[in-house]
């Protein structure tokens, strides 16, 4: 397969970026999107040209490092996969593919397709945990949890923190990311002692970092590689109201 790629190039945080055109020739349909970029980068390197920088690491859809905005979709056209899992067989032979970094005020571009997602760190640091010191835990089986709640908590906990939800949201909201953590901990009895202060602090931090709010377009769920449901946002809103009123 052959493709024309329009890829965002930007030298560093302070430089202005622009799209550059590249040709991807002789691409196997079984190649992953990142392997296709590897092939372009190999040719660039051989010409002593700077390669296209993109974040990646595990290449099996779990570390959350990779994240490209491909033809207007976070992680490309397939539902429920990350960029590194996406295969070229899903693209039209001979077609043009536009590749951009995540674009959000809270995620400044570092270089080319690499963005700074540390705002997510600050949200978690504000309260995305249960305060239990090492050694202080009770025997594991002393806390029974219904299978249904454990499963739903796991659904939420599957978030990989890639930022696709922010990238695809017209408000650049971090609600899906944040609600996944809040929802996971609200569903488990261990999370209850801190549930009020947690939601309060995390929401405050999200506002501080310049993320927008949710206006229920559900685009985040559509492009979430882990299919995290917007019902977690609803649970987070309930947690927030509960923390404010009761």
């Amino acid at each position: 397969m052959n493709f024309i790629l329009k890829i965002w190039r930007q030298k560093d945080r302070n430089s202005k970026g622009k799209f550059e055109e590249y040709k991807a020739i002789d691409i196997s349909p079984d190649m992953s999107f990142l392997e296709m970029l590897d092939a372009i980068n190999r040719d660039l390197a051989k010409q002593d040209a700077e390669v296209i920088a993109f974040d990646h690491d595990c290449r099996e859809g779990i570390c959350g490092s990779c994240g490209l905005f491909i033809n207007g979709r976070a992680h490309g056209p397939q539902h429920g996969v990350t960029t590194c899992e996406l295969r070229m067989r899903h693209f039209k032979d001979g077609g043009t593919i536009v590749v951009e970094p995540w674009r959000a005020k809270a995620f400044p571009v570092i270089k080319d397709l690499v963005v700074d997602r540390r705002a997510f760190e600050r949200i978690i640091q504000a309260g995305g945990y249960i305060s239990v010191d090492t050694g202080a835990a009770p025997e594991a089986s002393s806390i029974p949890i219904s299978k249904a709640n454990a499963e739903e908590a796991m659904d939420a906990a599957a978030c990989i923190g890639c930022g696709a939800c922010v990238a695809v949201c017209k408000n650049s909201s971090a609600m899906l990311f944040m609600s996944a953590k809040i929802s996971q901990l609200a569903l488990l009895p261990q999370g209850h002692p801190e549930r009020k202060i947690r939601v309060h602090r995390m929401v405050e931090q999200m506002d501080k970092d310049g993320f927008g709010h949710c206006s229920n377009t559900y685009a985040c769920e559509m492009d979430c590689p882990k299919k995290i449901s917007v019902t977690h946002i609803a649970r987070m809103n309930r947690e927030f109201i509960r923390a404010k009123i009761f």
């Binding site: 390669v51 959350g64 570092i110 760190e121 945990y129 305060s131 090492t134 594991a140 908590a153 488990l188």
Partner: protein, 637 residues
Amino acid sequence: MVLNSKIPEGPIQQKWDNHRFNMKLVNAANKRKYTIIVVGTGLAGASAAASLAELGYNVISLCYHESPRRAHSIAAQGGINAPKNYKNDGDSIWRLFYDTVKGGDYRAREANVYRLAQVSGNIIDQCVAQGVPFGREYGGLLDNRSFGGAQVSRTFYARGQTGQQLLLGAYSALSRQINTGRVTFYGRREMLDLIVIDGQARGIIARNLETGTLEPYVADAVILATGGYGNVFYLATLAKYSNGTAIWKAHKKGAFFGNPCFTQIHPTCIPLSSDYQSKLTLMSESLRNDGRIWVPKKAGDKRNPKDIPENERDYYLERLYPSFGNLVPRDVASRRAKEMCDKGFGVGTTGLAVYLDFADTIKRNGKAWVEEKYGNLFDMYHEITDENAYETPMRIYPAVHYTMGGLWVDYNLMTTIPGLYVIGEANFSDHGANRLGASALMQGLADGYFIIPYTIGDYLASSKFPLIKTDNPAFIESEKNSQDTFKQLLAIKGKQTVDEIHKRLGKIMYDYCGMARNEAGLKKALQHIPQIREEFYKDVIVPGTADNFNPELEKAYRFVDYVEIAELMVTDALHREESCGGHLREEYQTEDGEAKRDDEKFSYAAAWEYKGNGQKWEMHKEQLTFEYVKPSTRSYK
């Protein structure tokens, strides 16, 4: 130098308790006066950094990702072992200890393994309290699954994402400590050198991967939790950036390297399809619980698997190992798969694959049951291969996955450099010559949560720390060395990319130092590796500069270390004239193809000392004694 493993006195059940009592403590109010660097934020690094900060130490945590949560522990799928005996099937600390020593083919230190088994239950308690959503039964209690190398059900899991959930637990504890200010976290930093001053590990040099700046960090002790070096093989299940640079630089500063040739080749990976492939993808060993492994009885049988009738299939693991069946340990399952393919029974277009078939389980329990347990793995398989494993059997083949070898550490997890500790996969301890499934997560978290917080205190309380600043000549010189290396690499301007050369190194390692090894092959590898190194320094091309984000330069300086690690791995494999665990020397096997150990000659851990550029390594032996689990032929029949 004589190796001192510092194993405490007393019966094995009491060693750790005695030791904890005998170790010196740092007064609570004094802990904040000590600074500890923790490199890496996987299970071991994140849990250590968080636990040390909780105790009151001043912690500096670094990793090459922007976020601690992206460490490759996140990719572990199957589970974590603990002998809680919730299944009432006869499990105990003793049994986990026994299984692990036996699984490691009697090449691990008994005292360490016993301690690991002892603290493993606490890990589950800690993780549950953090909100890790382990799989549960309908009654609300924790569920367990079986794993290779054990006949009891002791593996706790969170769907096929156990590593992710445990890491997010440790990450949340770490995030909490970053918020308190007791941990200072530096992301996108890669350790390039260890700083040793007056015989003590006193800091590191790290590169800021975004700006290219070299940064000095001073501390009273340094902990490396930087994972394994399996990417020497290029194609492995490791993350692309996982590398051996931190431990290798520490090795060159005086830390001995333990059992470098002990590599785990994992049996259930998605087979290689062509040479553009950038990595191999693992599928959890838990699949072997319910999937049956087979090849056609007729070599070269290219029929659709569905058209091959039952009596023309060879379920070779069930045939060869009736009592463990498909759940034999990883080394055995991998070696047998390779053997079947070498004999021409392999399936798929390349012939380098065997079937893992769920048809019987789907018939017995229904598709929904399989989907609930393994849905994410089936989805992943589908995306990569475009095949639906609910309808046609998966194809699997072994791939490099884990390195049991690593820096040599004593019982306190300290290396031969005072003040340098190594935890998790980066050290050599606990797994011997073969690691059992669901034991890596256990070891990483045991080291980080429950061992290093005690043992490091003993060192801090009993050592003196002269004031050191970053203008110390040791820092200046190290920075200059790194800059010189970058200059050299950027100036070569040859014709081949780092990846192209690395792939060739990987192929040599797979061919001669992989699942089966022999003297002639290893000697051949020892000729090829220096040639590849020479070629690299003559013909590599690294574009860009050293003063900004440059992924090609990162690859290049990591490769400089890989090629040296490769040489030591082969040297170690050549010297060990026996077969044990994942190290199968073809000259030393039984008639039916099982590994043949030589306990008389090789019941030791090999600890290699670096003697300088171009010099031969010197090997030191840590003799292993087995007082409690008497070495026997490992049988899973």
